[in-house]
């Protein structure tokens, strides 16, 4: 199997849409990478963050109060959902290439969550390229990657309880998770970044903290 071939969609989107589950209960889990992500940002007096997930008021309050930062909420899950529902997913990679209005090397931290798990190869590469472009030197990117197909479908909102605890809240989605990525596939997605820390959690989530070399 070649590089990133695992990102090729194996589940029809319509199938995922029809099986979109009703919201289930939140699951709380310990995070090891979030603290390191936050620690990488405190050195900056006024960091700029991008959150690629849906808006979560508690996260904005937490990050704002902890870091005194500027946060751009760029809900890519909503963009993905819209493209899938409108039958335009094949254009999603091009959309991502033009999606970010931030200047190059202008962002200190990116919360990618598990968004890449829902993409195909072209979209994942387009996104990774753009995130690498906007991240400043020494900037940090936090990504989650599934290591097993979850029992429930749909997207997940990650709510920050504190710097070592997250709450995962599933919500309906038009597109299911795609293939599970191996470490080397993930690393090859971001040739301009280096892996700072990687943790495999008990809930089968792999947390990877990337840093942009100085």
């Amino acid at each position: 199997m070649g590089l990133l071939d695992r990102l090729a969609p194996r589940r029809p989107d319509a199938d995922a849409f029809e099986k979109a589950p009703a919201p289930t209960v939140d699951s709380v889990f310990a995070t090891k990478a979030l603290r390191k992500f936050l620690a990488s940002l405190v050195a900056s007096p006024s960091p700029v963050l991008i959150d690629l997930g849906p808006v979560v008021g508690a996260n904005i309050s937490f990050l704002g109060e902890e870091l005194g930062c500027k946060i751009f909420v760029e809900d890519l899950f909503a963009d993905l959902d819209r493209h899938v529902r409108e039958g335009r997913f094949e254009r999603f990679a091009d959309f991502l290439k033009a999606r970010f209005r931030q200047a190059s090397a202008s962002v200190d931290g990116i919360l990618c969550w598990d968004f890449i798990d829902y993409l195909d190869k072209a979209a994942a590469l387009a996104l990774a390229g753009e995130l690498t472009r906007i991240l400043r030197r020494e900037g940090a990117l936090l990504g989650f990657f599934g290591t097993a197909q979850p029992r429930e479908g749909g997207y997940s909102k990650y709510l920050i309880v504190n710097e070592v605890t997250l709450k995962r809240r599933p919500y309906p989605a038009a597109r299911g998770r795609q293939a599970i990525l191996l470490n080397r596939d993930i690393i090859r997605l971001f040739p301009g970044l280096r892996v700072s820390d990687s943790f495999l959690l008990q809930n089968n989530l792999r947390e990877i903290l990337f840093r942009k070399p100085g």
């Binding site: 500027k70 033009a98 999606r99 970010f100 200047a103």
Partner: protein, 143 residues
């Protein structure tokens, strides 16, 4: 002492610059600029705002399109909607609220970054908030 609160009703449409020195609740439509520097602005459930907003605190239950700056707090309640950038030391966004834009909670006195300022070029297919044209004369509320 009873606190003065001015109410702009559902049928009222205002275009231009709105200044005030009392707390204000808007249930109607306002386009332009709203300045209540030392007071609380509440956008009621029926309120529709296309404006740059400056106030001490802003509570949003209706719809706001435009940038919101508050010296104390911005509070987007359930079913409230903001399309625009928020600058405030404290921001609360309820679970059922809609928000698209950025939140700047940078601490006062933090030195601005030369390189970190994001470009202001609007994103394709990700329209930023419109800049209102406040051409009409200023209207003072509760004066």
């Amino acid at each position: 002492m009873e606190k003065d609160i001015v109410n702009i009703g559902k049928s009222v449409v205002i275009k231009g610059e709105l200044n005030g020195s009392e707390d204000l609740t808007i249930e109607g439509h306002v386009e332009g600029t709203i300045q209540l520097r030392d007071h609380v602005l509440t956008i009621g459930p029926n309120g529709r705002i296309k404006a740059q907003v400056f106030a001490k605190s802003v509570i949003v239950l209706g719809e706001v399109t435009g940038n919101v700056t508050a010296s104390e707090k911005v509070d987007i309640r359930d079913n409230g909607s903001v399309d625009g950038d928020i600058i405030a030391p404290r921001v609360a966004i309820a679970e059922g609220a809609h928000f698209r834009g950025s939140v700047d909670m940078q601490r006062k006195g933090a030195p601005p970054k030369a390189e970190t300022k994001p470009a202001t070029v609007p994103a394709p297919q990700a329209a930023g908030p419109p800049v209102p044209q406040a051409a009409a004369p200023a209207q003072r509320v509760g004066a």
